[in-house]
Structure formats: C-alpha cells, structure tokens
C-alpha cells in the first residue's frame, strides 16, 4: 500500500493542477484585487461625500461686524479639531423679526442647519435640535469665549502671541511601543481572519465533485479516506498560497508604482522577517484547521444546496472565534489570552497577535505543534464520519482481521 503521504500527494497534485489550470482560477485571482480596488475608490468617494454632508452647520444671525471676531476665533481654534469635527458657522443677515427667522432657518431643508445662534436679551442663544452634551454647543461656547477674550485683550491694548511648543521625538517609549504593537497584533489577526474566511470556504464544497461524478468510489478503493482528505486540504492550501503570493506581488508592485507615503505598521516584537514567516505558518494552520472542519462538514452534504445551508452557521462561528481572539489579543499572558492560544480554532489568530507583542519564540513552536495535532485530529474525525455516514462503512467489526483503516 502507498503511504498516506504519497497517496495524499497524488490526490493533492491532481486537485492543484485541476484548480490552477481552470478558468475559474483567473476569476479567483482577480476577484480580491477588483474588490479592493472598488472598495478603495468607493470608500474615498463616499468618505468625502459623508464628511461634507455630516459636518454640522450652524447659522449665526449677526451683522458682518459682529460676525468677524466670531469667525476669527473659529479660525484660531480650528487646528485643534479634526476636519470633520468642527461645526461650520454660516452668517445670516438679521431680519426685522428674529424669532420667525430662526424658525424659517431651521425649517429650510436645503440649508441643513442644526442650530441657529442669535443674540437675545440675556446674551447669546443657540436654538436647535442639540442637547447640552452635543459637540456643537460646546464648540460654540468655546468660540464665543475666545472671541470675547480677544476683544477684551484688544480693548486693553494687549496681544498674546500664539504658544510655541518644541517637539522632541524619542525613538521609543514603553507605552507607545506597546500601543503600536497592539495595532500590529490586531492588524495581523484581521488579515489572518479575512484571508482564511475568503479562502477556506472553498473547502466546504470540495467533496461535492467527487461525490456527484462518482470518482469517490475509485478513490476510496485505492487509498485511505484520510489520504483523500489530506490531499484535498494540501491542494487547496497550495492554491491559496499561490493566490496570496500573486496578490502580495501585485500589492508590492502597486506600492512601487504609486507610493502612498502613508503610515506603516509598527515593527512587531519578533521583527518583520520572522513575523511574516510566522504569519504564513499561522495562516497555513488556520486554513488547515478550518479547512479540515469545512471538508468534514461539507463531505456530509450531498448537494450544493446542503453546503449553502451549512455555510451560514460556519461563518457565524468563524466571526465569534475572531472576536474571541481579538478580545484576548491585548492580554496574551492573561487567562483569556492563554485560553485563546489553547483553543485550536482561535490559536493561530491569538499567536500571531502574540508574535506582534512578545519576542519569545518557544511558545510559537509549541503552538504550531499543538495546532498540527488538531489538524490531524480534525481530518481523522472528518474521514471517520465520511466513512460511517456517507460510505456507510463500519459498524461491528470485532475480529482483528477487520481493520477499520484497511
């Protein structure tokens, strides 16, 4: 008998060639690139639109002279706020009757005013659908206060020059490094999750072809079911890594052609080369773990419709596991962090977060061995269920002559 490894290789080679040489592989390769391109384009466009549309507009009923110090004070304070945070003040010439004018301004849909600032007998008044906790009244209060201070200083013949602060940048501070590495940890987890979700789902329907065209009978008569499962997993992992390599090459080329000059991720604790290697290993483990589970579940289905029914709870389960790993990312040595590292299906995501934040290597060796064990156990369980439920094998063999894995 061929060894399981050799039999898996035969299955994997066929599946890999069949997938990579198919037309659908081109679509598979192009899909994420197009998706990311569209996302970036639409995101930028929508962001711009939203920023403009969501900016709170406040009407200021004032003469030009009265509005000038207010506008000047707002201009001075504006650098302290984000572009989309500070309310837009629009001067409106006062009517003869201010009361009805306020009502008209708030009712005018095209003007989009959230509040109207006017002067009343007791001082300034802000009328609108805003509460005391909203940013708009606080901003208006700060602007008016600054305007009054400026007017008072001017009346006293004094000016206060703007404060100058010398910035001294240090390369590292413990707090900043920890915060930055937590960002890398979460980015690593997110990437691992997204790529696995995108790629491992293919395995749910992987056995449908063999079952529908009856090739499974030919395979099952020649090699152990475990070898079929391992071969299919190996093939799809190779297909995914091929896709990732091509996408990464495309991304690198895109960055070279159109350098963005944007912020880069902080250096992980184990350094970039090792982090990338570990990311690949943990992606492979995450893929194999989820893939083995998907393959086992999908092999029980007899039609694409059944596979679709299974895929929904599977996706929800994945999201929960991702949230668990993300919640535990910050406390990699705490109880939750250790639990996430031990639970096989969250372990790869937890460990990549650990690689970003802690420099020791031995936990990774231990985790990889642990995850590999679970891959094997999941494959063995899936193959066993397939033999029992699909091939209707097994049952009551009691004599040594009847080896189950024959």
């Amino acid at each position: 008998m061929m060894s399981t490894a050799k039999a898996s290789w035969v299955i994997a080679r066929r599946d890999f060639v069949a997938t990579v040489m198919s037309r659908s592989f081109i679509i598979f390769l192009l899909f994420p690139v197009l998706m990311i391109g569209f996302s970036i384009g639409f995101g930028a466009m929508l962001g711009k639109m939203e920023r403009h549309e969501n900016l709170p507009r406040i009407a200021v009923i004032a003469s030009e002279a009265a509005f000038r110090p207010i506008a000047a004070a707002q201009a001075r304070l504006k650098p302290a706020f984000r572009e989309d945070e500070m309310a837009e003040l629009v001067r409106v010439e006062p009517d003869y009757q201010v009361g009805p004018q306020i009502g008209d301004l708030l009712a005018a849909a095209d003007k989009r005013f959230v509040a109207v600032l006017s002067s009343g007998p007791g001082g300034m008044r802000l009328t609108g659908a805003v509460g005391p906790g909203d940013p708009a009244p606080r901003q208006v209060r700060a602007i008016l206060h600054a305007a009054r201070q400026e007017q008072a200083l001017s009346a006293a013949g004094r000016t206060v020059p703007p404060e100058r602060i010398e910035l001294v940048k240090v390369t590292e501070s413990a707090g900043a490094v920890a915060a930055q590495r937590a960002t890398t940890a979460r980015a690593g987890q997110w990437l691992l999750f997204m790529v696995t979700v995108m790629l491992a789902g293919m395995l749910l329907s992987n056995m449908i072809e063999e079952k529908s065209n009856k090739v499974i009978e030919v395979l099952a008569a020649a090699v152990p079911i475990d070898a079929i499962f391992l071969g299919k997993l190996g093939a799809m992992l190779s297909v995914s890594l091929t896709g990732l390599a091509l996408w990464a090459a495309t991304a690198v080329a895109a960055v070279q052609l159109w350098p963005s000059g944007g912020a880069s991720l902080p250096t992980p604790a184990v350094g970039w080369p090792l982090f990338i290697l570990l990311a690949l290993l943990y992606f492979s483990m995450n893929y194999l773990l989820l893939g083995a589970l998907f393959l086992g579940l999908g092999s029980q289905a007899s039609s694409v419709r059944e596979v679709q029914s299974i895929s929904m709870p599977v996706t929800i389960g994945q999201v929960f596991i991702f949230f668990f790993a993300t919640a535990a990312a910050g406390s990699y040595n705490g109880l939750m962090g250790l639990a996430a590292a031990v639970f096989p299906f969250s372990s790869p995501m937890m460990m990549i977060a650990r690689a970003a934040q802690a420099g020791e290597l031995w936990p990774h060796l231990l985790a990889l061995a642990w995850q590999a064990l679970w891959v094997w156990l999941t494959v063995a369980l899936g193959a066993s269920l397939f033999r029992r439920n699909v091939l209707k094998s097994g049952g009551g063999g009691t004599r040594p002559l009847l080896r189950r894995r024959a």
Binding site: A7, N213, P224, S393, L402
Partner: protein, 321 residues
Amino acid sequence: MKGELPKVANGLAIEARGLFKAFDGKTAVDGIDIHVPEGTIYGVLGPNGAGKTTTLRMLLGIIDPDRGERRLLGREAPLEAAAEVGYLPEERGLYPAMKTKEAIAFMGALRGLPLALGRARAEGMLRDNGLGDYVDKPIKSLSKGMAQTVQLFGTIVHRPRLIVLDEPFSGLDAINQGRLEAMIREEAAGGATILFSTHVIAHAERLCERVAIIAAGRVRFEGRVDEARGRLRPRVRLRTRSTDGAWRSALPPRADQENGAWLFELPETGVEPLLRALIDGGAGIEELSIERPGLHDAFVAIAGEAAAREMGADAPAGDEA
C-alpha cells in the same frame, strides 16, 4: 505490478467468510462466503439488489463488513493490496475536465504507478484501441461508451494481479461488450485473476470458470460453472411414430408431453436401457436428444424462478441465457 510478487500462499486471490452487512437495519449481505482461486475468471451472478456490489465493496475495503472476514491477495487489510488490484465500479466516475490520458495515468498513480509511465501506457492503450485522437481530449468530450473504455484502461493501466469489475457490461453496445470480453480473456491469459459481477447470465456462461450465485444477500451456489450445470440432470426430448405400446413403461413416471414430444430428465440408469425398450417395443424413434442444462437452468434451480425472471428482464436483448 503483475507477476512481481509471489503467489498467495493458499492460492486464493480472494477469500471471504461470513460477510454480513446491513444498511439502516436492512440486511444487504447475509453471511456470504466466497473463494476466488488465483488466475481464474470468476463471476458473481445475481439479480439487482442481490448484494453483489456491497459484497465487492466489502472485499475491496471500500466499506467494512459488520461481521465476517475477508482476505485480498493474502492481505487482511484490503487496501494493503491496492497496488495489485484494479477496480471498475458499477457507477463509472471520471473527472470531466481531465484529459483522457491524464485520467488513465491518475488512476494508475492512485495504485502506485509512476505518473510518467502511466501517461506512456495510457497513450499506447488509447492508440491501440482506436482512440488515438482522444489522447489529449477532455473526458467530457467522449461518448459514454468511450468514457467507459477509458475507465477500464485506468483500471488495468498498472497491470494489476486482481481485476474487480462491477457490472462491466452494463451500458455497452454489443460490439463493445465483445471487446470487453476479449480484454477480460486477454488479462486472464496474462495471469490476472478476474472477478466480475453481472446480472446477465450469458456473459458469465461465456467467460467464467467459477461463479457465485447470490440471491437476497446470500450465496446460493459457489463453484465451477459445469458443477452448477451438473446439479441438474440432462433433459431428454423424445418423439415417436407410435403413440402407445409396451415401451411406455420404460419412460420415467414424471415424463411430460409437449407438442407430441416427451420431455423428461435422463434416468439415473442412463439412456441405453431406454433405447433398448424403445427399439424392442417398436416405438419408431423420430427424434431423440439429450440436452445438457445451461447456466440459466441451473440459476433457476438454485436462485429461484423469480430471481431468474428478474435477471432476464434486466438483460440486454440477445443476452438472456
């Protein structure tokens, strides 16, 4: 593969005792015993639903029996002998997008044949059998008969010692059935053991040295084809000019008359005493024939009239025994 390994110690390519299998509480195979000597062409006969396919799947290790023992080429674990076995399942299965040559080589590779050698042999097999134009064509471009032929090539490309064919003739036209029979004889002549299941008695009668007759999940007979036929006495057909006389007492008491001819089993004493009585009694013999029973008659006697009717109904025209 074939001939590279020593013969099985007890000379049996397949040995099974008391195989039992039930699906969802319904018994499919009920204590089957089979012994297939090496180098023979062995037929498993039975109507649809008799348990033939389940028996073959258990023998090959695709499924495990609930009870019983089996050995394949001397191995207790059938998959350990996979490299020396070729299997053509009843439900043919090929990857539609795969090239013909690659499909054959892949099936060989599953049984341990190096891919390059498999490709070379596949090309040769296809060209020798008039399918040279389809070497690099995808399976989906082949007719059903061609695809079955390709799968058969994939079954034997690694030159197995044991070839198991489940209903190999089903779906083939008469010409391809003839080709398949020739191929089976050729493989057997080369030393391979052939085990095939069929519900068409004519194929078994033409090809097999030994048969197992299965009905309702049980083996009703296992042995040589002539042994099966030998279970029945030869039938005598007699037509005489005289309708009555002293010679009538020489006929067996259960002799039937049909269209003026007497039909009866050949008496234990042989034909000579009967002949003497007919001549001495002046019966005037117009026709006297002794017919050996066919496998179909044996099957009827062994498996029952209902099973035989079912097999006859399923057999393609011209193949009923």
